[in-house]
Structure formats: structure tokens, C-alpha cells
Amino acid sequence: MAGPHEILGMSRLLGIGTTEFLAKYTDNGGTTLRFGEEDGRCVFVTESACRVHPRRPLVCRLYPLGRATDGTGEERFARFPKQEGCEAEYGTDGTIADFLAAQGVAPYLEWSLRYGEVYRRMLGLLDRIGVEGRVETEDGGEAGAAGSHPVSDRDPLSSWQDIDASLSAYCAAKGIAVPAGIDEAIDLHLAAMQEWLDGLEARMGAAPEGSEGEEKT
């Protein structure tokens, strides 16, 4: 699992852009890091270390814990067995809070929360789209909203996953400079997505009363 903000952080560490990172190091539509077909290891794990450790994704920071939140935001943690070959310290001393602090997960959880708000808005809009609904196509014809186009497993599912490319286009359209810092780029990425959803919502018209998925917490 690797979100667009995590891909941005790792790509900056490697000195490449997110477009190149997505092409070289991700699978499953740009949503997961690539694993070796023969050894099953993450592409960044070497004999001695992780090549992107300072910018490793949240899921790697949490290991050997698993984290799940319910609809109310309540957290639950699970502990996974130590994997063969893992040289990290593995024990039951200390608290989960101390472990999370030591792994620097706080900003990653905050980003996850903020992207979760965007995700919730997207679901709200999709919920208003009848799968069997008739929608306008580019050529003026009509087609089912569930229509799809073939994509490679290694192509990103969405252009929004590529922060460098999406911010480049967004900033060019706005006539503003692309932020250099990672935090600033993530902030603008989130703002640009919210703006995109604002536009879609405006064009779809007011949500019907009591529609699902529109609730924001």
C-alpha cells in the first residue's frame, strides 16, 4: 500500500519524479510497491536495509502492527508474527503509543485522515451516479457509467496518484509556482482534489436530501 503522498516522499528521497517512481516501483494500478517475482521482496529492500527507510510508507512504519479504524474513528491494533528474515527488534515491551511515536507515524495518520475525507466525498458523488444511469459521452452519445477502458496493471488507476504531474498541470492552469516542499505539495494536492470535487458537485447539482455518503465528520 502506498498513497500518493507517500510516493511523493519516496520519489524525492530517490531524486526522481512521481511519474518515474510510479512506472518503476509500483504495481496494481500504482497502489502498491513492487515486489520481486522470484524472491517476493519489496523492491526497496536490499540485503542490509530499506532504500527508502526515511520516507517509508505508513504500513511499513506500523509493522509488525496492523491498524484498523471503524466508522467512528476508533483505532484497533493487531500484531503480526515476525516474518522470516526480519532483523528488526520484535517484542512486547513498551506501549503502542511509544512505538508509534518512535516510528514517526503521526503525520502519516494525519495525511491518511485528510485523504480519507477526499475519498468520502468521492464515494458520495459516486453514490449519486446510478450505475445503470445514462451519461453523456465525449462524442455526444450515451453509455453506461460503469464503462471502463483497458489499463495495464502498472498504469496508475488515476492521474491524481501522480502528484508531480497533477500539480504541474494544476499550477500551470492557475499560473502559480509548483511548491518545492513535500508538505506544501501534499497540501496543494489535497486542495486541488477538493476543488475538482467542488466542480463535479456543482455540475451534478444539489445532492438529494438524505443522500448517502455526503456526511462529513
Binding site: 500504482g30 502498491t32 496492523g66 446510478g130 457509467a145 451534478m204 448517502e212 455518503g213
Partner: protein, 113 residues
């Protein structure tokens, strides 16, 4: 509740982009959508063996051993296995009873953990 028909100014391409972005976020963040609870979003950050994450369950079995010797094997009903696979709150409890009274709880298994 019926779905509303999309306004004519929202193109098919935009809808595909919206669906693709939601799908990407669902996977890359581990978000789940509880459509029955008003759009509540769960997020799960579970590091699992790649072999497990890439393959859906086909079958789940309970096996009884004596040391290393397999004594008996029984498949968990498919609909129960599916429930275990898909619901983070689903559990299996192994309990011993006599005359309708529980003597001992051998433990709880969480299918998603």
C-alpha cells in the same frame, strides 16, 4: 433510495476518473466503505504476506492434529469463510460444551488479522 441521473455536463470520462481515483485510494490507503452506515470510511493498514494479499480465499479448513499427525480435517462453510475474509470484525470462537454448558473457550480467531 434510487440513484439520481447524472447531470448532462458531467462527462463519462470524468466519472471514470472519479471511480478510478476512488478505487486507487481504496487500495493505496486501505479505505473501506461501509455503505450501510452513511458513508463511514474505515482505513486499514495491515502489512500482510504478499501471497495472502494477492489471492482471495478459495477454502478455509479446520484441522485437528495429534503432534504432527493430522487426525481430521473439515472445511468451513463457504459463506462463513467469505464473511471471515471480508469483515474485519468477524471472529471464530472455539468453545467446549457439555450438556449445553460451556466448559472452556479455547480462543478467538480473527479472519482479517
Amino acid at each position: 433510495m434510487g440513484k439520481q441521473e447524472v447531470g448532462r455536463t458531467v462527462s463519462r470520462r470524468e466519472i471514470i476518473k472519479l471511480a478510478g481515483t476512488a478505487a486507487a485510494f481504496c487500495t493505496s490507503f486501505g479505505f473501506l466503505h461501509g455503505s450501510q452506515v452513511g458513508g463511514a470510511v474505515q482505513d486499514k493498514h495491515l502489512q500482510q504476506d504478499k501471497h495472502i494479499t494477492q489471492h482471495k480465499w478459495e477454502r478455509a479448513e479446520i484441522k485437528w492434529y495429534s503432534g504432527n499427525a493430522l487426525l481430521h480435517s473439515s472445511a468451513i462453510p463457504a459463506k462463513v469463510a467469505k464473511h471471515l475474509e471480508s469483515d474485519v470484525n468477524a471472529t471464530v470462537e472455539v468453545k467446549l460444551f457439555r450438556s449445553g454448558q460451556m466448559l472452556r473457550n479455547l480462543g478467538t480467531i480473527q479472519g482479517k488479522h
